[in-house]
Amino acid sequence: MVDRPPFLGFGLGLRPQHYAEILEADAPLPIDWFEIISENYMEAGGRPRHMLDRVKERYPLVMHGVSMSIASTSPLDWDYLARLKALADHVQPKWISDHLCWTGVHGINLHDLMPVAYTEEALDHIAARIARVQDYLGRRIAIENVSSYIEFAESEMTEWEFVGQLARRADCWLLLDVNNVFVSGRNHRFDGTEFIEAIPRERVVQFHLAGHSEGNDCLIDTHDQPVCDEVFELYRRAIGHFGPVSTMIERDDNIPPLSDLLAELTRARQIAQETLAPGQLEVA
């Protein structure tokens, strides 16, 4: 796959709480790139756009959305996609990603990453929609596996079979969220390593590492905690399997000081260095 996006190194999700520290640091921070939440910058102006432009001058960016609703059975939201495209034209991201989920039907938006039934019908439906979006945006997009708490009795294959087939059929990239593999694995009693090893190597362009919380009888993907040891160990297996893949810490709530996230990023970097051969982690 000749045009696979470059290895960017180790990054963070850009959060407003850290703008000042990022932009006013005396010495370069050990952050190779940032991921922005696309929807947070779709409004045209003010502080969010101002800060985005300043970060863009200093760091490579990727765009990560939460509202494409690629698996929805409602029509694609072309107004949303136009806004996404306009933002991408402005940001010039290394790639654009969203989730393998639906966020609503019949005009309603639940603002959540709702799970997909792993059926042939869903494969055909979602692959066709990804192809339309990619045609419109003029680039491949990366699709991320989500955490889930339920599965559908209608499912005809495992999640990892579905994700792998979808990537090939839609000719898209994959964003592998290692925490989501761990959370869903615990919730549905599957082995995260089996998931990871079934995903086509050449399709994965990014890893997410995040924290989760304990629910009543399942893990919940809250992104409000540090990455736990077990997720870091699963990351070790993932980077061993896929090789150098751009990796980031994704924290969305209970945002800690930047130094805490940098410590987590350093740990990810160390794991990658321990796992891969010298020279493999050179940033393009």
Binding site: G45, R47, S67, I108, N109, Y149
Partner: protein
């Protein structure tokens, strides 16, 4: 018979929105766990996430009402107006109008007004960027002042209110005890806007409020002067208008001025609501 993807999504969405359980028969969970409990993760997350957005967007109203009353109003709004925007930023946009129709607003009309203040300041925060005219730009209209119209900054919202919501708002922002909500005889004009990267708000004089309202509606400078001559001392109209215009420019409220070009749709001037007689 297996349900289609569309049927599965419609059923699950309905269960999440309305805390029902029609989709349970389609859900698969490990032995020893409960499908209802797993479904509740989505139901709870939906409510918590969207209520939190309303809390953030309407933090002054939330502080004033306290948790229980605010949460009840937020939940009633979300039931009546589930989100239809892909961007969570717009989830709460209809909340002030929803409050207008609630019994508590009939008792305390200041509450929807307070919500509108929160909303206006929130909207100013990331409204589209636009140029800001300065007093120096007045020279560009020297040859046609009467026919000049002014384009207000798209982040500006003018709120005509007949309550003491702004007094409550300022007290709470200053962490002081707010006054009780009351209806007021005279119309008050509150304006929220963004200058640079910072949202601002202030109360205008009745004359200034009327003039800014007319400006938002596209009135030219001659019309503004005409109205000013009727609302104040005609002898001092020119001086007052010069002062008002300079103040707007210095505050960054005006994006452009030119000959009879219509203002952009961005600035919002809300009609004063009809209030019941006390």
């Amino acid at each position: 018979m297996a349900r289609t993807l569309a049927e599965l999504q419609a059923a699950l969405q309905n269960d999440v929105l309305n805390r029902q359980s029609a989709s349970l028969s389609s859900l698969s969970v490990p032995i020893g766990t409960s499908a209802a409990s797993r479904l509740a993760v989505y139901q709870n997350a939906y409510e918590i996430r969207l209520v939190n957005i309303l809390c953030e967007d309407y933090d002054t109203l939330w502080t004033f009402l306290g948790d229980d009353t605010f949460l009840n109003l937020a939940k009633s709004y979300l039931r009546a107006c589930p989100s239809r925007s892909p961007n969570a930023r717009w989830v709460g946009h209809g909340f002030p109008d929803h409050l207008d129709d609630q019994p508590i607003a009939a008792q305390h009309p200041a509450l929807p007004d307070l919500a509108r203040l929160d909303r206006a300041i929130r909207d100013a925060f990331d409204a589209p960027d636009a140029p800001v005219a300065t007093p120096d730009d007045l020279a560009t209209i020297a040859d046609h002042p009467e026919a000049t119209v002014f384009t207000l900054h798209p982040g500006l919202t003018l709120l005509p209110q007949r309550t003491n919501a702004y007094d409550i708002f300022r007290a709470l922002r200053a962490e002081q005890t707010p006054p009780k909500p009351t209806i007021q005889d005279d119309l008050r004009w509150i304006v929220a806007w963004r200058r640079g990267l910072t949202s601002h708000h202030t109360e205008l004089t009745p004359e200034e409020g009327t003039l800014l309202d007319l400006t938002a509606k596209g009135a030219n400078f001659a019309r503004l002067c005409e109205v000013a001559a009727m609302t104040g001392d005609p002898e001092t109209t020119a001086a007052r208008m010069a002062g008002t215009l300079r103040q707007w420019l210095e505050n960054g409220m005006i994006s452009a001025m030119g000959r009879e070009s219509p203002p952009v749709a961005g600035p919002k001037s809300k009609p004063a609501r009809d209030l019941p007689a006390e």
